[in-house]
C-alpha cells in the first residue's frame, strides 16, 4: 500500500470523481449538522489527506459494532470510508492471522508513528492482572497501552469501549473499564451505542480525516452531532407522550395504535443518540418504530438501570425491606418518645402531690 500519495490521486486512479467527493462531503456535513460551506471544506480536506492508517483493536466485545459498520446500508459511504482509510489491523476483517497479524499491527504503527488512529471496540478487563482477555499471550491492557502510545487519536466504538458496557455491568466480574480511563491524555472520541449507528462511526472518522481534529464532543466524549439530542425529543411518538396516550403492554390496543412506550420502560427521554432521526438499516426503522422502547444503549451503565421494562420514573431498588424496617423503627421511636413524655409527667405529678402534703 502506498502512503505517500494523497487521497484525491488515489481515488482518481480508482475512478472516483471529484463530484463523488463533494457529494460525500455534503452528506457527512449534513449528518453532522455542519454549515453548508463545510461540505466543500470537508471534501477538500479529504482530497488533500493521505490515506489514514487505522488500527482496530477488539477487546471484550461481541463484534456487533463491526457488524454494524460493515452492514451499513449506505454502500457508497461504506466503500468510501474504507477507501479513505487503510485498515491495517482488524482481527475480524483481516485475512492474515496469528503472528503475521500482530506483525502487521506493529508495521503500521512504525510506519505511521504519531499519525495513526486507534479504533477500539470492547472494554478492557483489569481484574487479576487482566487475564480475562489476552491475545497472543498479552493482555488487552498491554496491547492497548502499546498501541495507543504513538497514536494520533483514539476512537472508542460501542458502549463497551466508551463506557464499559455489558462486561462492566454489575457485578463486573472481570473488572472491565472503559477505554477513556486508559488512554491518558490522548484525544478520544466515544461513539457509544450497542451497537453504534454506522453513520456515527463513519461520520466521526471522516471529520477527523478532513479537519485533522476532533469534532465537537459532549461531556461524555461523544460527537454532539450524533449525540446532541435525546431519542425522546426526536421521537415520532412524542405527541402521544404529550397527550398522555401510552401503550401499557406490547400487545394491547395502545401498542397497536403506536402510542408512546414510556410505560413499558422506554429510556428515550434520557438517551442521547440519533436513532430517531437517522434510523437503522438504511433509514428503514429503529427500535421504537418497531414497537419496543429504547433501552438507552448509548448511555453509561444502561444494563444497570433496574430493567429495560421498568418505567423511567420508578425507583431502582426494591424498597420493601427498607420500608418495613423504617416502619418498625418509626413506631418504636414513637412509643419510646411517648413513654419518655409520660415518665416526665409522672415524675412531675409525684412532686406536685408531695407539695400538697
Amino acid at each position: 500500500m502506498k502512503h505517500d500519495d494523497n487521497l484525491a490521486g488515489e481515488m482518481q486512479r480508482r475512478g472516483v470523481s471529484r463530484r463523488a467527493f463533494l457529494k460525500f462531503g455534503s452528506y457527512v456535513a449534513s449528518l453532522m449538522a455542519l454549515p453548508p460551506s463545510a461540505a466543500e471544506a470537508l471534501a477538500e480536506g479529504l482530497a488533500a489527506a493521505r490515506r489514514q492508517s487505522v488500527i482496530w483493536l477488539s477487546f471484550q466485545e461481541c463484534t456487533g459494532c463491526t457488524e454494524s459498520l460493515t452492514r451499513s446500508y449506505a454502500p457508497t459511504l461504506e466503500n468510501l470510508i474504507f477507501d479513505f482509510i487503510s485498515l491495517d489491523y482488524h482481527e475480524t476483517l483481516m485475512a492474515v492471522s496469528g503472528e503475521a497479524a500482530e506483525k502487521a499491527r506493529e508495521a503500521a504503527m512504525a510506519a505511521n508513528r504519531g499519525k495513526y488512529i486507534v479504533v477500539v471496540d470492547g472494554s478492557v478487563p483489569m481484574k487479576d492482572g487482566g487475564v480475562y482477555a489476552t491475545i497472543g499471550g498479552r493482555t488487552n491492557h498491554q496491547i492497548l497501552e502499546d498501541t495507543v502510545k504513538d497514536a494520533f487519536a483514539v476512537v472508542a466504538v460501542g458502549t463497551c469501549a466508551a463506557f464499559g458496557g455489558l462486561p462492566r455491568a454489575n457485578p463486573n466480574p472481570t473488572g472491565a473499564v472503559p477505554i477513556s480511563t486508559l488512554v491518558g491524555g490522548k484525544p478520544l472520541i466515544n461513539i457509544s451505542g450497542c451497537p453504534p449507528i454506522p453513520e456515527a462511526m463513519t461520520g466521526a472518522l471522516a471529520y477527523v480525516l478532513s479537519f485533522g481534529k476532533l469534532p465537537e464532543l459532549d461531556h461524555l466524549g461523544r460527537p454532539k452531532a450524533f449525540f446532541g439530542e435525546t431519542i425522546h425529543d426526536r421521537c415520532y411518538r412524542r405527541p402521544f407522550y404529550e397527550r398522555g396516550e401510552f401503550a401499557d403492554g406490547f400487545d394491547d390496543a395502545g401498542a397497536r395504535q403506536g402510542f408512546c412506550l414510556y410505560k413499558v420502560g422506554c429510556k428515550g427521554p434520557v438517551t442521547y443518540n440519533s436513532c430517531a432521526t437517522m434510523k437503522w438499516n438504511g433509514g428503514v426503522s429503529f427500535p421504537i418504530q418497531s414497537g419496543h422502547g429504547c433501552l438507552g444503549c448509548s448511555e453509561p451503565d444502561f444494563w444497570d438501570q433496574g430493567g429495560f421494562y421498568r418505567p423511567l420514573s420508578t425507583p431502582l431498588g426494591a424498597m420493601g425491606p427498607a420500608l418495613a424496617g423504617a416502619a418498625l423503627a418509626g413506631a418504636a421511636l414513637g412509643v419510646g418518645a411517648a413513654l419518655s413524655a409520660r415518665s416526665h409527667q409522672k415524675s412531675y405529678l409525684a412532686s406536685a402531690e408531695k407539695e400538697k402534703e
Binding site: 404529550e242 451503565d301 418505567p311 420514573s313 431502582l316
Partner: protein
C-alpha cells in the same frame, strides 16, 4: 446518568424510608400519649365521637363566611396550590407509574399540557404564598424557619419538574435527577416539619370535632 441512578436508587429508597420512619415516629409519639378521659355526660342527642370527628374533618374544609372576609386570599390561594400539587403529583403519568411501583395500583393520567399548565399555576400560587408570608405583619411574626424550609422543599420539586419538562437548565437527565432529589429532600423533611399536616389535619380536626361534638357545640 450516574446522578439519575443515584436519585432513583439509593436516594429514593433512603428518603422514602426516612419518610415512613418519621411519619410513624411522630404519629405514634403523639397518639401514644395518655388521653384525659372525659366523664362529663355528652349533650343530649350528640353524635358518637367517630361521627363528630369525621364531620369536623369535612366541616373544616371551608371556613365560616365571616372568616373569609379577611381570610379569602389565604383560603383560595391555599386551595389553588393544594389542588395544583394534587393534580401534578397524582395525575401526571410518570408520577402515577412511580406510585404504582410503590402501591401496585394505578389510574389514568392527564395530558402533559394540562399538567404543565397546572404546574405553572401551582408554582405561581406558591410564590404568591411566599410573598404574602414575607409581607403580612401577622405571618412575619408567627413564621419560623420550618415554614420557609417547608415552602422551599415544596417549591423545588415543582420548579425542577417544570424546568425538566421545558428543557431549561442542565441536561434533561440531570434535571430529572435534581427533580427526584428535590422530592427526596421533601420526603425527608416531611415528617419533621409542618408538611406533616397532610396527616395531622385528620387528627387535629378530629380531636376538636370530638370535643365540640361531645358538648353539642358547632365547629
Amino acid at each position: 446518568m450516574e446522578l439519575l441512578a443515584f436519585a432513583r436508587g439509593q436516594a429514593l429508597t433512603f428518603s422514602v424510608a426516612v419518610f415512613v420512619l418519621g411519619v410513624l415516629w411522630r404519629l405514634v409519639g403523639v397518639l401514644a400519649l395518655p388521653a384525659w378521659r372525659d366523664f362529663s355526660p355528652p349533650r343530649e342527642g350528640s353524635a358518637p365521637n367517630w361521627l363528630s370527628a369525621i364531620r369536623a374533618i369535612f366541616r373544616k374544609m371551608i371556613p365560616h363566611r365571616t372568616f373569609l372576609k379577611e381570610g379569602m386570599f389565604t383560603t383560595v390561594n391555599g386551595y389553588v396550590f393544594h389542588f395544583g400539587l394534587g393534580v401534578v403529583v397524582f395525575l401526571f403519568v410518570p408520577h402515577i407509574l412511580f406510585l404504582r411501583s410503590l402501591f401496585g395500583v394505578s389510574w389514568p393520567g392527564l395530558p402533559n399540557g394540562v399538567i404543565t399548565g397546572v404546574g405553572a399555576l401551582t408554582a405561581g400560587s406558591l410564590l404568591v404564598a411566599l410573598a404574602y408570608r414575607l409581607t403580612s405583619p401577622v405571618l412575619k411574626l408567627i413564621s419560623r424557619p420550618n415554614d420557609y424550609l417547608s415552602w422551599l422543599l415544596t417549591f423545588l420539586p415543582v420548579a425542577t419538574g417544570l424546568a425538566a419538562t421545558a428543557h431549561v437548565g442542565p441536561r434533561y437527565e440531570t434535571m430529572l435527577a435534581l427533580h427526584i432529589l428535590s422530592v427526596c429532600a421533601f420526603l425527608i423533611w416531611f415528617p419533621f416539619g409542618k408538611l406533616m399536616h397532610a396527616f395531622l389535619f385528620v387528627l387535629s380536626r378530629g380531636a376538636t370535632g370530638i370535643r365540640f361534638g361531645h358538648r353539642g357545640a358547632q365547629l
